[in-house]
């Protein structure tokens, strides 16, 4: 072969190979490997499908508070009823709705759904009631989310970019999956998601205990993130619309829904102004009426500051205790009541 023909073949071959590799990974991310683009959801779905097939399923939806704070293995539920923690960090009403839609689309139809109400996420200004990052979602998810997208952020454009250059956009997860997580800064590592997650979807807090100085740092960060939302909060239209759609979807599929609020530390609770407390209480009452089930507000339990890592994420021992008590006082009776 002449030098020129060989060079042309090498260059065009490279272009074809790059296109094939990018396209191949995009197809895999879209269709076959949800855990590579959205490990928090994808791994839980895979784990659930592989291990748990209860006669009756209680699916728990929520944020990192739930992810770390509720251990389904500690739920003492009636025979034939199993619980799975599908919570994902940063989830607010929209992500919870999306998770339910994804589960139904994946052929998982829970009988009961426990939905965490995260008070700061109710506010329009909340950092957790928006959608994204786009690379987590597949094309069908975009359709679900379209009505909730931030108008300044084009979900489709972000998704397209992620799918055109998947080796770059999904590199943190890919490297973590390939056992090369040590190449990444700790903030970018994802391998803890599968190393830390226990059967049932519970991902306990990283440490058994937290030193006081570290807790103070955590509280400072939490305050920076949430205190603004807890000042004279009003429940925004996004949260209302998402929960209304979730309830309608559940009703269409014969799923019972109960809302609950996770425990909060005294310091965290102190950031909510009286007006916020009134607004949240009123909205929880609305949800109770809409779902036909009283809202279990665990924040009223008054757990001490030392049960939390940073004001709202429960430490392991407190998560176990909270799970047992929550199941005994609320989930068990609710499930039994529905069964009768």
């Amino acid at each position: 072969m002449s030098r020129r023909r060989s060079a042309r073949r090498a260059v065009l071959g490279a272009l074809a190979a790059v296109a094939t590799l990018q396209l191949g990974l995009s197809v895999a991310l879209e269709r076959f490997k949800p855990e590579w683009r959205d490990p928090e959801y994808g791994l839980r779905l895979r784990d659930f499908q592989a291990t748990l097939r209860p006669a009756k399923l209680v699916a728990v939806l929520g944020s990192s508070r739930v992810q770390m704070g509720l251990n389904p293995a500690a739920f003492a539920l009636p025979d034939g009823v199993g619980a799975y923690n599908f919570a994902q960090s940063g989830s607010g009403p929209v992500q919870e709705l999306l998770t339910l839609k994804r589960l139904l689309a994946a052929g998982v139809r829970p009988d009961f759904v426990l939905v965490e109400v995260l008070p700061p996420a109710l506010s329009t200004a909340s950092p957790v009631n928006r959608v994204g990052p786009s690379e987590r979602y597949d094309w069908r998810d975009l359709g679900y989310l379209e009505a909730y997208g931030d108008p300044t952020h084009s979900l489709q454009a972000g998704w397209l970019r992620a799918r055109l250059t998947p080796w770059s956009e999904s590199r943190s997860v890919l490297l973590s999956r390939a056992g090369a997580g040590f190449l990444l800064p700790s903030a970018a590592r994802r391998d803890f998601l599968w190393k830390q997650t226990r059967p049932g979807g519970w991902m306990p807090y990283f440490f058994e205990t937290v030193e006081e100085g570290r807790r103070e740092d955590g509280l400072r960060k939490t305050q920076q993130e949430y205190a603004g939302c807890l000042t004279d909060l009003t429940v925004g239209p996004v949260a209302r619309r998402a929960y209304a759609e979730l309830l309608a979807l559940a009703a269409d599929n014969g799923i019972r829904v109960a809302f609950f609020g996770m425990p909060e530390s005294p310091r965290f609770r102190s950031w909510a102004t009286p007006a916020t407390q009134v607004a949240v209480r009123a909205y929880l009452d609305e949800l109770a009426v809409a779902s036909g089930t009283p809202v279990a507000d665990l924040s009223a339990w008054g757990l001490p500051e030392t049960d939390f890592a940073d004001g709202h994420h429960l430490l392991r021992h407190a998560a176990d205790a909270t799970s047992r008590r929550f199941a005994a006082e609320h989930v068990g009776p609710w499930v039994l009541g529905q069964r009768r």
Binding site: A10, L12, A17, T165, L174, L183, L184
Partner: protein, 522 residues
Amino acid sequence: MPLFATSTPLTADQLAAALKAQEQLRWAGEAAYFRTLHDWLPEPFFHTESFFLFFAAVAAVYWAMPQRWVAGRVWLLVVASFHFYAAWNASLAFLVTATASLDYVLARGIEAAPRRRVKQALTAASVLSNLGLLAYFKYRGFFLGELHDLLTTLGGDPAFRKLSPLDILVPFGISFYTFEAISYAVDVYKGKTRAERSLPHFLLFILFFPHLVAGPIVRAGDFLRQTHRVKRWNWVRVQVGVQFFLLGLFKKLAIADRMAVYSDPILSNPEAASSGAIWLAVLAYSLRIYADFSGYSDMAIGLAHLLGYRLVPNFNLPYLAANVGEFWRRWHISLSTWLRDYVFIPLGGSRGSGLATDRNLMVTMLLGGLWHGATWSYVVWGGLHGVLLVGHRHFRAFAAARPGFNALLETKVGTALRVGLTFFAVSLAWVFFRPDFQSALVILERMFQFDLPGNPLPLNARGLWYTAVVVLVCHVLAASGLWARLWSRLPAGAVGYGYALVLIAALLLAPEQGQTFIYFTF
């Protein structure tokens, strides 16, 4: 009038934020056309998606032009290069174009002048205008600051304030294109090069975007000839261009930016770091500087090939150098040969006494250090290399007089030891290759106290060691010729697949936060 007057030193974060705010303010006052251009091409870096689109558009139009339209293609590249620079700073793009035009006119005058005195005066005008530009933009703050300190120390009132980094906007690549313009004027004066008749061809020599902001420093005699040649699409050349570009991209994303994650947090705050972490951070910094600058040069060479131009090679496995003299024949070759031809040799080179040669080496390297940055740390870095070169010159003479010892040095073990020692010396000198002189002293102090506790590396050191081993193995494979032999025997399809894998690996290994090119600030 500076936008931000400061009386107290800013922290690095404050400075970065203030610079960003200043840039936003500057762009707000810029013409809408250039603002839009800036939005499309916000950074003059080769490894961004926006640059990829820019280059694809330029290359498509360039090759779509009939090949006989040599002038049209030259104009296209001049306009594209101007826009490439204007997307970063429109006013400075006009300034660079204007000074290049002045150099063009002066060179025509140098060639046409009938008298030697006039030729000398015009050459001096060209050289001084370029040095003046360099002094105003790059060294004004440094020299005024030193003068301010001196007057204050002597008890006088300086009657002016020190400039803050916010007062000084150094045009990207100013050190590169002023050196190109100076060598052109000198070469025309000496009759080594004919003065270019065509303004666009000359502008392309200075503004050609692949080498504009960080070299390689091209010589007029080499480049201008190429601008007049008819360029034909050539798959072999395209392959060479793609190969260079991918190699550079991999060096930049997978090595340089990754090594910055290890080195930057430690070297910017050495007081808090342990001795072990500092040693490893210095190793990471050595790898970073090499991969960053040689990666940029490779990308520039590759891009130029894709447009039918050949730029001079800038690196030749410098960390395999067995002594500092060899290191400088392998590192930033376009600068070291420029300094040799336009500073060292005019000073007398090695033609005089041993002492004169030592002096010439020291002066050349001190100027070389100052060329990199207007701070004492770069001067010290240049001075250290000067000392190393002088030391090596004497050691070479010492060894040459002792054949047995010399033969020992030339054995494989002796060579390996010399390579290791050279790398060690060069790496220690890199400690000063940062703007902050005080930090460099702290780094050295803590390095040699060996067991000081402090912060560890921000990342698992395994990644650093793997990278060091990969770089070493690649160097050895390339130096032994094994890599070239293996590569040439692979079928074309496998070579193409190899290119794709290099690109994918670069994308995969790039850290979340990209880094600027170190040499863009010079």
